[in-house]
């Protein structure tokens, strides 16, 4: 499993590189090479590193370890076909990681990034409604059961299309330079990452790579089902390209607009969930 873990990290970083490249091409820039994010991670890991004088050292370092740890756990849950709820609990707890990154350094930019991250916790709620909608169909939260259900009934992408859209939006809100990525918007320098440089940033990059792979593969497992590994890779690349279009063509929303849009999506998803529940679809 260690090999898979490392591969997943590298592949996730590659996906993020593709993301940057596609955005650049859409905006008619040359853009960095697709392996730029991997080089980035390596580059940061060679840099000299210390803890800022004003930081709360334990939290400053500990949160990096927690960031990698929770996504490693999420990777194993997806890998072994565990409970979807655990994956999404970890997804929500990533908020805390962002919050910890931002606040632990004492930097005002990091602090604003962290506070914005807390405000935009509304973005995670559609996720739970979409998970609930899926569970109404499959009557189970374990990924292996969901995969089995799709082998019998066909992909959930067609059966529960609104749930797929909601989860797509949730993934979109975690992509860099997307419409909802207010936590890293440039008026805050790099938002919550501002003060984590050198090795700490390399750790954060590892976490981001792993996170991307886990989220994308969860999306494909939940809405398309178990496919051969090659098709899985193709699916993830297609997913990242579509996300890049969404990111490249939309402006970044202001924090309150971002929360409003996410709240509206949550409301719509709640209506859909109630409709499924009351209508007795399953």
């Amino acid at each position: 499993m260690i090999a898979e873990l490392v591969l997943a990290t590298v592949f996730g970083l590659l996906l993020l590189g593709i993301h940057r490249k596609v955005i650049a091409r859409i905006q008619r820039r040359p853009g960095p090479p697709v392996w730029q994010e991997i080089l980035h991670m390596l580059k940061f890991s060679f840099k000299s590193t210390w803890v800022p004088a004003t930081a709360s050292a334990t939290l400053f370092i500990g949160v990096v370890l927690v960031a990698i740890g929770i996504w490693t756990a999420a990777f194993f849950v997806v890998f072994t076909g565990g409970s979807l709820l655990v994956v999404f609990a970890i997804y929500m707890l990533h908020k805390i990681v962002e919050h910890g990154f931002g606040l632990s350094s004492g930097s005002p930019y990091g602090k604003f990034g962290g506070v914005r991250s807390v405000i935009s916790a509304a973005s995670e709620i559609p996720l739970f409604v979409s998970v609930a909608a899926i569970a109404i169909f499959t009557r189970s939260f374990t990924l292996s059961d969901i995969v089995l259900y799709q082998q019998v009934h066909g992909p959930l992408l067609f059966i529960a299309f609104p749930a797929a859209i909601a989860m797509y939006l949730v993934i979109l809100s975690k992509m860099p330079s997307g419409p909802f990525s207010i936590v890293e918007s440039k008026e805050l320098v790099s938002g919550y990452k501002t003060e984590h440089f050198g090795v700490w940033r390399a750790g954060l990059e590892v976490c981001n790579g792993l996170k991307t792979t886990v989220l994308f593969s969860t999306f494909i497992l939940v809405f398309i089902g178990q496919v051969p590994i090659l098709w899985m890779v193709v699916g993830m690349v297609l997913l990242v390209i579509s996300l890049s279009f969404a990111c490249a063509l939309t402006p970044m929303l202001s924090p309150f607009d971002s929360v409003t849009v996410q709240t509206i999506v949550t409301g719509l998803m709640l209506c859909y969930g109630t409709f499924l529940y009351v209508g007795g679809v399953a």
């Binding site: 004088a53 004003t54 930081a55 709360s56 050292a57 334990t58 939290l59 400053f60 500990g62 927690v66 929770i70 756990a73 849950v77 565990g82 409970s83 709820l85 655990v86 609990a89 970890i90 929500m92 707890l93 908020k95 805390i96 919050h99 910890g100 606040l103 632990s104 350094s105 004492g106 930097s107 005002p108 602090k111 962290g114 506070v115 807390v118 405000i119 935009s120 916790a121 509304a122 709620i125 739970f128 569970a135 009557r139 189970s140 939260f141 374990t142 929360v259 709240t263």
Partner: protein
């Protein structure tokens, strides 16, 4: 939907008090534990204030007595959220949730900034009103099913839990915790002392995650 988000690994029966771990709750529990340990061993950061555009900056210092009080509150908050993660009893869950509400106020109460004080007071008002649906929900659970034990509810042999009870429970948890639903809680996070302040958001997120599991039972 009677599965407890995975099979319970371990059930500890202590009289009629139940403690159980599933893959889901153990993940949440370990995270609460990790951050409580961080609170225990870390010192607060010195928050830097700058005038944007200028080059003057100051760092905020936290006095030892203030730090002690806030650390105590943060640890209490961590313990309460750990309790809420593992408890197998609906009423205990609501009590732990209410306790998280109190400690969240306590964590920022010692901060001398009027802005934070005001946010904490407004948060406290909402958290206190949220105890009505919270306890009410637990009471309706007991009235309708005759049991407050999550293990019993999960077996599916009891009468169905009315929708209003679940709605009350979720409403109460949202009132106690979720930052996006009211700005006062997000404002509280401006307070310096990151390791402690982070417990506010961690505990409310964890409790929200747990209530999702709770309402799926029965």
């Amino acid at each position: 939907m009677s599965n407890l988000a995975g099979i319970p690994y371990y059930v500890l029966e202590f009289g009629d008090e139940l403690v159980y771990f599933t893959p889901y709750t153990i993940t949440l529990f370990l995270l609460a534990l990790t951050f409580t340990i961080f609170v225990l061993v870390s010192r607060p950061e010195r928050q830097v204030d700058i005038a944007f555009g200028g080059d003057a900056y100051t760092t905020k210092e936290i006095t030892i007595s203030e730090m002690r009080f806030r650390r105590f509150m943060a640890i209490a908050c961590g313990l309460a959220s750990m309790g809420a993660m593992v408890t197998g009893d609906i009423f205990n869950f609501t009590l732990f949730t209410a306790m998280v509400g109190i400690t969240n106020v306590g964590i920022v109460a010692a901060v001398k900034s009027p802005h934070v004080q005001n946010a904490a007071f407004q948060y406290g008002l909402v958290a206190l009103t949220a105890t009505v649906p919270l306890f009410g929900g637990a009471a309706v659970y007991a009235a309708a099913t005759g049991s407050l034990s999550m293990i019993e509810l999960a077996k599916g042999t009891l009468p169905a839990v009315p929708f209003v009870a679940k709605a009350f429970l979720v409403l109460g948890v949202i009132g106690e915790g979720m930052a996006p639903f009211y700005a006062a809680k997000a404002e509280m996070f401006r307070a310096p002392g990151a390791p402690y302040v982070i417990m506010c958001s961690l505990s409310s997120l964890l409790i929200f995650l747990r209530v999702i599991e709770v309402v799926m039972l029965g």
